[in-house]
Symmetry: C3
Subunit: 387 residues, 3 copies
């Protein structure tokens, strides 16, 4: 009795990808996955007499993605390609991106060239703040916090070196170094200013999380033992030309671009135990001279968003796979330099994980208090479907 | 004797998709399909002395699409994603779409939550005019009529509720309700004006069509018994801000957007029997005040395209799978308000269905008579390939 | 003993595509492939005292593509779709492309309707210069030469007729005729000026190359016997409206577009033997009246880039699959008409083909001497991964 086809079914279980391909002679592999998020929001401002005024609402395809990853030629040579499909995903076209939509999120080749060392070539997330490093498909609440929006360094084209080692049987340490272009993702024009250097160290004193859970929202694995990641990143964008390091707007002046060194520090922690999770992040940004100037010293009007932010988030996953979560975010962008007011945001969230992060319904409600401005209320409801 | 792989060949017959995937444990399914249309056109105006003048020609990739559909987690939870690839498909970028091309056509989740009830979340076609609801890959002539171009309400992000029941053994009734955003597809900016409400009722007094043929051009199934669909839609776009309800251009004024309630009514019918098909559509649009104004009452120059349209189309499919078809379209947009002239278009078409709508060659010739303007002649030739 | 699934593993060897699908009853086939190029460049100008000045650098995703090809319905009816994903691939949006990115590279149906005759409908490469006809994934050096950049006629929507026959047992001749739109790829607006006619004849006096190697850089197949292709193209763009035939910028004038007949001639040759390869190309462009004018005869400032170019390239592939290559390119665009200086470029390249053109690392260094301008040095490094 002969069987002419012995490969496993290339269509795996729900949530594990659309196709899990293994090339003939096992010379390569590819997992193809897709996902989408449907988001509805409603917001109000608090009126002078306490009532809610200025209602706005929105409903949109927040994210839609295609992902391809696996190895090529050798299991030591891996790759990942992630494409955005929704209008929000691909927005950001400018003359610096060939006036074309920013379709590619990740396009990176990872080579495990020696022992625990891995070099990464291409465009991918920089080793910056924890929230960004959690995939937008694995968030505990509907979306990331204000800290991420103000301070993240997101993705960039460049080269990274990763390494990890064990201090003791359980205590693992991971280091990530990056040299990148400095102006954010999908930039096709030549490098402006200097390069962009990032270093991150991650400590796992209680051992590794189940299934890389340090970068996944909520304790969906219900860790049997307490697990902790403590990490810090230092980011230096030399002669940076954008207002939020490699994000924000270009600081154009009379002779081209205003350039200044921008530093960003992130300190973050993730703790999980038996359905309980606690995440904390602190960000701090400074610049040599945050006020953009022309060649004659006059100010252009653009400034670097220097300041700091704090985000604390916690949640508990009930055995029924309902999770309640809370978040406090405080953003203090330097008021004297930027004119921006202090922001404090309080969010409570409720998630039902039908099939983990792969099929879930999430809702949250936020109260945003901005000094000297009207307070705001924001309600969101999101459905996520991930193959 | 053991067989390690028992799934059917995931690559189905021609025209049935590229891949028909069934996830392990039957937890999900996905059909992946693609299609493209290559179109050539030539047009002329009728000169004052009867000859043809001002020739123009074009040839382009009219449509190219990728489609994914199936169920996720439970057969009661279905989804559909359709992406456009050609320049015509993805055009329409504006500040309201994050200045990004409109890549996603459909992204919708359908949940059969109770008996014959289905709720649909996401972006998909609104329950409007019949011609729009026929996929552009299943048309009887090269493209849709002028009625569709002037009156369609196309796609939008929102929520729909579908239901169907039988009055008698054969008489089926289907109802579709929709609440949507009101500004058309792929809009990422917040909702403007009020919401957009649509209701449609479809009557099938002679029973269901073969293979959902009510929304497919031509009687390719050669219905053994006469089949009829009679349907009507009522559409109310509250405080609409665009000139053709959720289509056309934004009516910008001095304080933001001019807003008015726009109503659209569609009445349509499809009849098929033994290769013969007859389709009729009537559209009527009105607005509370169709003339856009500034806050001080002065006119902005934009107006709502109020008026009505009629489209009648018939065809006969010969046993050789050649089809001849005829179409008459009359568009009467209010001349006093919009300044537009009455349009009457006569089209004869010829189609060769090599593999049904999946591989076909279509040509048609149209004569367009516009009051007070030069008459026009349009010839088109299209090849469609659909996996 | 029954076997329910007899298809071969649809995931082929590395470099042979992601999926090789054969539809049920062999009614169609589809090969799906993807590739990406990661490019880093550094350049300098030669300063007045001989040193290097004005350094610039860049790193980007140079190309990322998805390809689909196979046959539909009958093996005589083939198709190819190629999509660009990177910002460089899809750039070039304009009002002529519906203000949408140029996502589709190829979308073409090929019908072998009679013996050695094949008709091609859709958008694909025109039968122009050899370098363009070599896929960007099969280049011998990091990228194509300046000759291609100045003279190529790239892709266009239209109809082509291909034919081939044998003069003797080994001497093969291939002819390609094309009628196209005249304004380059992904144009959705109507045809401007006249049509675009191209003819190409390819002679293979020593027989066919291994594996269609005439359009692949380097002699990776190490031809056992000398192989040669001699070819010539004649291209006539009637009433062309762009500065480089169907490329470059539109020559807009006071009454629409300046139109002139532009002719381009290409003569090229490819020789391969035992790891050695030699490629030569000559291009010549002329125009009836290369200086764009308004209706009153005043000049608009745009001119057709008339002139000629020569590219000579050679390489030797060592048994270790390292290849050294050299290139000389001379571009002489008419200085009186266009004001452009003579350019001579010298390039040496080094390639390591890990898995042929499917996984390779390439680097090259170029010295560009431009009359009356500073000389320039350009260094490039590229990694290519092709499934």
């Amino acid at each position: 009795c002969f069987i002419s086809y012995s490969q496993e079914n290339p269509a795996p279980k729900f949530g594990k990808g659309i196709l899990n391909l293994i090339g003939q002679d096992s010379t390569w592999s590819m997992k193809i996955a897709t996902r989408m998020q449907l988001l509805s929001t409603a917001s109000w401002e608090k009126g002078p007499n306490g009532g809610l005024i200025n209602p706005t609402s929105n409903t949109l395809i927040r994210r839609a993605r295609l992902k391809f990853d696996g190895f090529a030629y050798s299991p030591k040579l891996k790759y990942k390609i992630e494409l955005g499909l929704s209008n929000r995903d691909i927005s950001g076209a400018s003359e610096y991106t060939s006036n074309a939509p920013r379709y590619i999120l990740d396009a990176v080749i990872m080579w495990n060239f020696y022992k625990n060392f891995e070099v990464r070539l291409g465009q991918s997330k920089l080793p910056g703040n924890m929230e960004r490093l959690i995939s937008s498909g694995n968030l505990q609440q509907v979306d990331r916090s204000l800290l991420n929006r103000r301070f993240t360094i997101d993705r960039e084209m460049g080269i990274q070196l990763w390494h990890h080692f064990n201090l003791t049987d359980t205590f693992m340490v991971r280091e990530k170094l990056s040299i990148a272009k400095g102006e954010g993702r999908n930039v096709t024009s030549e490098n402006l200013g200097g390069h962009h250097y990032t270093a991150r160290v991650e400590l796992f004193p209680l051992g590794e999380f189940e299934n890389n859970g340090e970068y996944s929202g909520g304790d969906l694995k219900r860790e049997q033992k307490p697990k902790l990641m403590l990490a810090g990143s230092y980011d230096s964008n030399q002669n940076a030309v954008k207002t939020r390091s490699n994000q924000g707007s270009y600081m154009i002046n009379d002779i081209g671009f205003y350039q200044t060194n921008i530093s960003t520090v992130f300190i973050d922690a993730m703790f999980k135990y038996n359905g309980f999770s606690l995440m904390g992040e602190y960000a701090y940004r400074s610049a040599n001279d945050p006020i953009a100037k022309n060649s004659d010293g006059t100010e252009t009007g653009e400034v670097v968003w220097v300041g700091n932010g704090l985000n604390l988030q916690t949640g508990y996953l009930f055995p029924s796979n309902w999770e309640v979560s809370g978040r406090f975010t405080s953003i203090d962008i330097d008021k004297i330099i930027t004119g921006r007011n202090l922001e404090n945001q309080y969010t409570i969230g409720l998630s039902k994980y039908i099939v983990g992060h792969k099929l879930k319904v999430q809702t949250d409600m936020s109260y945003l208090a901005v000094s000297n401005e009207q307070d705001q209320i924001l309600c969101r409801l999101q459905v996520e479907l991930h193959f």
